[in-house]
Amino acid sequence: MDALVVKNLYKNYGEIVALDGINFTVRDGEIFGLIGPNGAGKTTTLRIISTLLSISSGEIKVFGKDVATESNEVRKIISYLPEDAGAYKNLTGRAYLDFIASFFADGEARREMVRYGMEVADLGDRIDSKVETYSKGMMRRLLIARAIMAKPKFAILDEVTSGLDVVNAFEIREIIQKIAKSGVSILLSSHNMFEVEYLCDRVALIDHGKVVLEGTPAGLKQRYGANNIEEVFTKAVSP
């Protein structure tokens, strides 16, 4: 079964058309990248899949569950990490993980979930410090741990390494690869073409609310005679 099927997705805000009939599929176990210029509709797409925004028309299914009519069931199997997300500043890292875990499990299962989250976050003693004292890199590690500790079937990551330094971004990418290897299907958006090429099995380019091309990084490079995805991107969106 496909992890995600998006069919003829439209999203309007009044007379403004944000998504103009988007179609793409994410296969089970793959990392799928959404790329596109600012305002192309990437975040809107991710928010709709995450059940945060309504669908104007079209259909989205996550592992066969309909986002519009079975949103609570969808939320049980997905995990969404927004761009520049934060955590509750008055809680410690451990308390924050425990708070999130409480929505997925009880008792020993919940404790085990927190243990796994702490292992992924790898913050050492700082896991017991208040979140407000964390650096951006530490915060991102904690949030990725939060996003995957419940072992979702499908993770949605929006600009996951945005604003991070080289070392932190590298470590986060390593974590994402590990998550994918553990069987989690991932949909991510990024402006970093190197990251997309490095991480993604397949990518889709969105422009003006439409998917304008889709394929593997290697296939797209070959199709456009480009050396990298950045070049593909530029050629594809140039008028």
């Binding site: 805000y13 928010r47 059940t51 945060l52 939320r75 500043k89 008055n90 708070f99 999130i100 409480s102």
Partner: protein, 441 residues
């Protein structure tokens, strides 16, 4: 796994921090101390007799002198004299003694004091006041001096009247009437008390409850709107909304958590304000409210607490609706203004007037603002205005449910994340249109 409990716990943990509690406790302590200070000042002005300096320039023989008579009256009235002179050359010394010993004033009896009185003219006393400061309570020290002057004046009046020989009791002659007051208010008949005293007795709650409710509403409203602004700014709201828990539970968690924190803050304020108002209430310490049926029983207090809790829920509901439109923490701050205004209007009206004596349009306005009901709840319960009490409760329930319903719809709609969107022609999409788009989530 109790999602609601976890959400309430998280909300309380977020809101009940040392940084949020400390200012409340400090404010309550400040109120309590201010009340004690006021009480002490009022009590001193009422109870203590004056400490004065005196110079008698009247040369009339002591047994025939009204100035000497006045000084005797002062002694009988327990006035403490720090200086008692008889010469104009002693004025500087008397003033120094007044300052050194903290006397309230120096009274100088004019040299023609007795002559003037006997001639049927006004007699003069020159008063040098020892002003200790310009504060509100500093003026209270002048009250014992005025009391002393009034006592002297009426003693001389009585002496003059009795000196005519035709009147046996000058006290009765100067005040020939005695009144026994009974006050009827609504269905309540209060024996042996006049309306001024009743009003004085009720002053504390007339003042305290509206101020207290207003403070709580503004404070709790500010907290929840800011918390929503922060949730949006940090994008924790997006995380929360993608967890496997329904939106009604999230809204309920936020409301109950914040309302509980509001009640804790309210309790702290109530203690502080109670001490504060006690300071103003010493004059009516001789009267027992219960004696006149002006007290609340356990059920009344429970109703009042329930009204307060419901008003807080209404405020929180309104704030969550407003908070939904706050894009960040800073924007959230300005959204507390409508709530503050809504809390202040009934506060001032209830503090200075009675609902029953208001013109109809103001009655409708006061009734329509949910925060009015706990503000006037205490008086309504005391005076058995059951229609207003229970009508208010029903209205609060309807209002609370309506705000919760709208809040839940907002949480299910796009507006929470996208705010108002504008059409190409510049007109805003209506709230109802946005809400109609909310989904089954």
């Amino acid at each position: 796994m109790n999602h609601l409990y976890n959400l309430i716990k998280k909300e309380v943990k977020e809101l009940l921090t040392p940084a949020s509690v400390l200012p409340i406790v400090v404010m309550a302590l400040v109120f309590a101390s201010l009340g004690n200070l006021t009480g002490t000042a009022i009590s001193e002005s009422q109870e203590s007799s004056a400490t004065l300096a005196v110079i008698n320039l009247d040369p009339t023989a002591e047994n025939d002198s009204y100035a000497a008579f006045a000084i005797e009256v002062m002694a009988a009235y327990n006035v403490t004299l720090v200086y008692n002179g008889t010469s104009a050359s002693e004025i500087e010394d008397a003033l120094q003694a007044m300052k050194d010993q903290g006397a309230a004033a120096l009274l100088i009896f004019d040299e023609n004091f007795t002559t003037s009185i006997k001639a049927g003219e006004k007699a003069a006393i020159q008063v040098y006041w020892n002003m200790k400061g310009t504060g509100l309570f500093d003026s209270l020290s002048s009250a014992p001096v005025y009391n002393t002057l009034n006592v002297i004046s009426s003693a001389i009046t009585m002496e003059l009247i009795e000196g005519q020989g035709s009147i046996v009791d000058a006290a009765n002659a100067t005040a020939p009437l005695v009144t026994y007051s009974n006050t009827i208010l609504g269905d309540k008949e209060m024996i042996g008390i006049d309306p001024m005293t009743v009003s004085g007795l009720l002053d504390s709650q007339n003042m305290m409850m509206p101020i207290l409710i207003m403070i709580i509403i503004v404070m709790v409203g500010g907290i929840i709107i800011s918390s929503m602004g922060m949730e949006k700014e940090n994008k924790t709201l997006e995380t929360l909304l993608t967890l496997p828990v329904n939106r009604t539970t999230i809204v309920a968690g936020k409301l109950i958590g914040s309302a509980s924190v509001g009640l804790v803050f309210g309790l702290i304020y109530m203690v502080g304000m109670a001490y504060y108002m006690q300071g103003f209430n010493l004059a009516s310490a001789d009267y027992d409210l219960a004696q006149y049926g002006l007290s609340l029983d356990l059920l009344d207090w429970a109703i009042l607490a329930l009204m307060m809790f419901m008003a807080i829920l209404c405020a929180l509901g309104l704030c969550m609706i407003l908070g939904a439109f706050a894009k960040n923490y800073k924007a959230a701050q300005s959204l507390t203004l409508p709530i503050s205004f809504l809390a202040m209007v009934p506060m001032f009206i209830v503090m200075f007037t009675d609902f029953n004596t208001l013109p109809l349009f103001l009655q409708v306005l006061v009734f329509a603002i949910p925060f009015s009901h706990p503000m006037m709840g205490m008086n309504n319960l005391m005076f058995d205005n059951t229609l207003l009490v229970y009508g208010g409760m029903v209205y609060l329930t309807v209002f609370t449910l309506a705000t919760i319903f709208i809040t839940v719809r907002l949480y299910k709609s796009d507006i929470l994340l996208t705010g108002f969107r504008f059409k190409k022609d510049g007109s805003a999409m209506s709230l109802m249109k946005g809400l109609r788009r909310s989904r089954k989530v």
